[in-house]
Amino acid sequence: MPDPTLFAAVKDPAHRPDPYPLYARLRESPVALQDDGTYVVTTHAALRALVFDPRLSSEDLPDATHPPTGNPFKDWIVNPIKDRIRSRHRPLIFRDPPDHDVLRRHVMREFTAVRVNAMHARVDALVADLLDRKREARQIDLVDDFSYPLPVTVICEMLGVPPEDEARFHGWATQLATALEPDAREDKENRDKNIATFDEIAAYMQDLIKEKRRHPVDDILSGLATGHDPQAGRMGDYDLIATAILLLIAGHETTVNLITNGMLTLLRFPEHLERLRADPEMAPRLIEELLRYEPPVHFRTRKALASIRMDDTTIPEGAPVVLLFASGNRDPARFREPDRFDPDREDIQHFGFGGSLHFCVGAPLARLEAEAALVALARRLKNPRLIDNPPPYRPGASLRGPQHLRLAIEGIA
């Protein structure tokens, strides 16, 4: 049995730059029991089996409860109702079928291939513009100057959220993304902050949705607010708010990491940076390998609805389960030389977008943005070098990516 404190070490920010040796040790057991009772699924084979197991529930978020305010009307009437509503209208990543399927259908009705592919030219233009602004620079922070503004602008435009409000929801997004971090979401103080943040962003979204209902335009929020599912009918307001918040946050928090991790990886394996510069047609392969090698989401949590036997381990009913996707992506039993970044690898079947019901809705958009971004960076950055290796990381162990990525360059072509 591997050390039962390894996952605690994974969550420790000290290991953020390189959690992969910890994953390798965790993989000694396909399902590794930790001393806090969490079962960590580590190998490609075990992940494949359990991702598709309907006895693992995504409804594992602790109930939302507002902290007491001292105002009895709020504490006894308003906030308990709000809490109840919120617990029953979680975003779809925290929902199981059949509710999950209905919500997802609503989203997919709007998140169409036509709508995503229509962003091609716009993404190219945004990429070009962001780089043009730094034409003379000798140093850039890839995150602040490029990887963050690109997907934020894209998702805002697609949803129909005014990009000038970015300053407001930037903080909200960072706070709410902690729902994916097991320690943060169990932490009382963080949960209270989360609830306050949710109230604010929900109020913001509610206003926006009202506006979309009054004056629908060709964007996703208008579509969700006015659209109709042949079986499920119209989306309820609370689900709509939760969905809008999810799309806004998921639409950029993860893509920032994909682009930043991508450039970091290419600078660590410069022969592939050269190849991409010379041959942009290799980008789709390179991005799939990147999703394997440095995925933007390292794990998701679940709860066992029944006892589940997996190899020599039995996960008991009610146990928390961590699907450690990033470990499966580095499993030597599935990938030859898994720690080598190799876009020529055959059969890259990765968990970079999760899998099964909860497979990333935004995967096609993420690919499109990452391709435009990395191809342009490879072509236009003159002699880019890493200033910090490893770079400083954001706190998240699940949503893992650099906080900043300072690059020394000799201008931008």
Binding site: P97, P98, L305
Partner: protein, 429 residues
């Protein structure tokens, strides 16, 4: 260096092509001759009963990828008519004899014809198995017949009915059993398909038997006479009564082959009449009957797309390498069928199941997983628009879990085992 070994693959469809490909991959360097009775390169059959009939895919546009670079010698439009084991040669209808060192038999199946040959020969009566069948039926459908009568509500019959409805044709579907797909899914689940067919405008008539087809003076089919009286106008008739295994060419060869298929062992080695493996001869795909570790009742044969691919690869490994190097073929049977906008998928084998239970979703919403049990063990699972759950059930079937498995799943109502309602098979005389 020894002279390069010669391989012959009889059957130029999916199993034959994937077998030839696997022979190369496994290191067979000598010539490979691919023999096919049809004049066409290997093509994909599933579209024939779907998009080819509806006119969305051209019959000549469904060639299978994976043919380039294999360095194959083709004998197309040349049926194999005999196997001379002592001389180690295959005889073709053209009179040619092809000597071999390694032989892969993948002759598959053909459509079971309408039992009355004179009626079967009427113009306007079709079967649906090959590319030419589909092209001819497509041409007849494109002429907008007033009605299409489909005899047989198995997968091909149901898919053909869906294709006809999708281009606005009136369709009557008749079958002697109480529901569509009754022999594979049972009548309990078959009822869900019946409801869908009716909702989509198919004139579906269960427990109805066609006694005879009637033609006019010009030899064109005009109507079908039903058992117990009744008559249906039918300018186009599709006979969808299942398939017959192509084993006649092996008669007298010493190989154990009959209407049930070519007998093989678990390594896909063809057996002689004494049950001994014949050196250097293997079989794969629809035509192969073999012992499967999951099915205790005796040898089985599967008419499944994925099985053709996987068993052909297994057979090729047996032919090239020492067969002991890999285990017995034990791939989980799996198939799919799409009708209208519904995707049906299955893993395992429902044969002999005595119970069925819905473990996820609901029949009423036509989106569910149904699990089949036999003597307390889980033997199969079928999904309607719920394909992503099937791998979990496949694992439970492979592990021999008690029935019903996967209790405590999301979206699970009360799991109440029911009688699957398989029609009693008439004793064959």
């Amino acid at each position: 260096m020894a002279e390069a070994l010669r391989a012959v693959v009889v059957g130029a469809s999916l199993a034959g092509l994937r077998g030839a490909e696997a022979l190369r991959r496994e290191g067979h360097r000598g010539p490979i001759t691919l023999v096919g009775d049809e004049p066409h390169r290997p093509y994909d059959r599933p579209p024939l009963s779907k998009r080819v009939l509806s006119g969305e895919a051209r019959p000549e546009a469904i060639d299978l990828p994976g043919q380039a670079g294999l360095d194959l010698t083709w004998r197309l439009g040349a049926a194999a008519v005999g196997l001379d084991l002592p001389a180690r040669a295959v005889a073709l209808a053209t009179g040619e004899r092809l000597p071999f060192d390694r032989l892969l038999i993948a002759t598959g199946t053909r459509a079971r014809p309408w039992p009355n040959p004179a009626e079967a020969a009427l113009s306007g009566v079709f079967t649906l198995r090959n590319r030419d069948d589909a092209a001819a039926l497509r041409a007849a459908l494109a002429a907008k017949p007033a009605r299409v009568l489909i005899i047989g509500a198995g997968f091909i019959g149901c898919e053909a009915a869906a294709a006809c409805r999708s281009i606005g044709l009136s369709v009557t579907l008749v079958d002697p059993t109480p529901t569509p797909l009754a022999s594979v899914l049972g009548t309990r689940i078959g009822r869900v398909v019946a409801e869908m067919l009716r909702r989509e405008g198919v004139d579906y008539r269960p427990e109805t038997r066609v006694e005879a087809l009637e033609g006019d003076a010009a030899g064109r089919v005009r109507a079908a006479r039903l058992a117990g009286g009744g008559r249906l106008d039918a300018p186009v008739v599709v006979v969808a009564l299942g398939a017959l295994r192509n084993t006649e060419w092996l008669a007298g060869s010493g190989v154990a082959a009959d209407a049930g298929g070519v007998a093989c062992d678990g390594l896909c080695r063809v057996l002689d009449r004494a049950g001994r493996p014949v050196d250097g001869v293997a079989a794969a795909g629809d035509v192969a009957r073999f012992p499967h570790p999951l099915f205790p009742d005796g040898p089985v044969a599967f008419e499944h797309w994925g099985h053709a691919v996987e068993q052909a690869q297994h057979a090729a490994r047996t032919l090239v390498g020492p067969p002991e190097d890999h285990g017995a073929y034990a791939a989980m049977p799996a198939f799919w069928s799409s009708q209208f906008d519904l995707n049906i998928k299955s893993v395992g084998l429902t044969n002999g199941a005595d119970a069925v239970a819905v473990t996820q979703g609901s029949l009423a919403e036509r989106r569910f997983v149904a699990v089949y049990g036999r003597a307390g063990r889980t033997v199969a699972a079928v999904s309607f628009d719920s394909a992503r759950w099937l791998p979990a059930y496949a694992a439970r079937i492979a592990a021999g879990d008690a029935f019903p498995p996967i209790l405590g799943a999301t979206d699970q109502g009360r799991v109440a085992p029911m009688d699957p309602g398989f029609p009693q098979r008439p004793a064959r005389g």
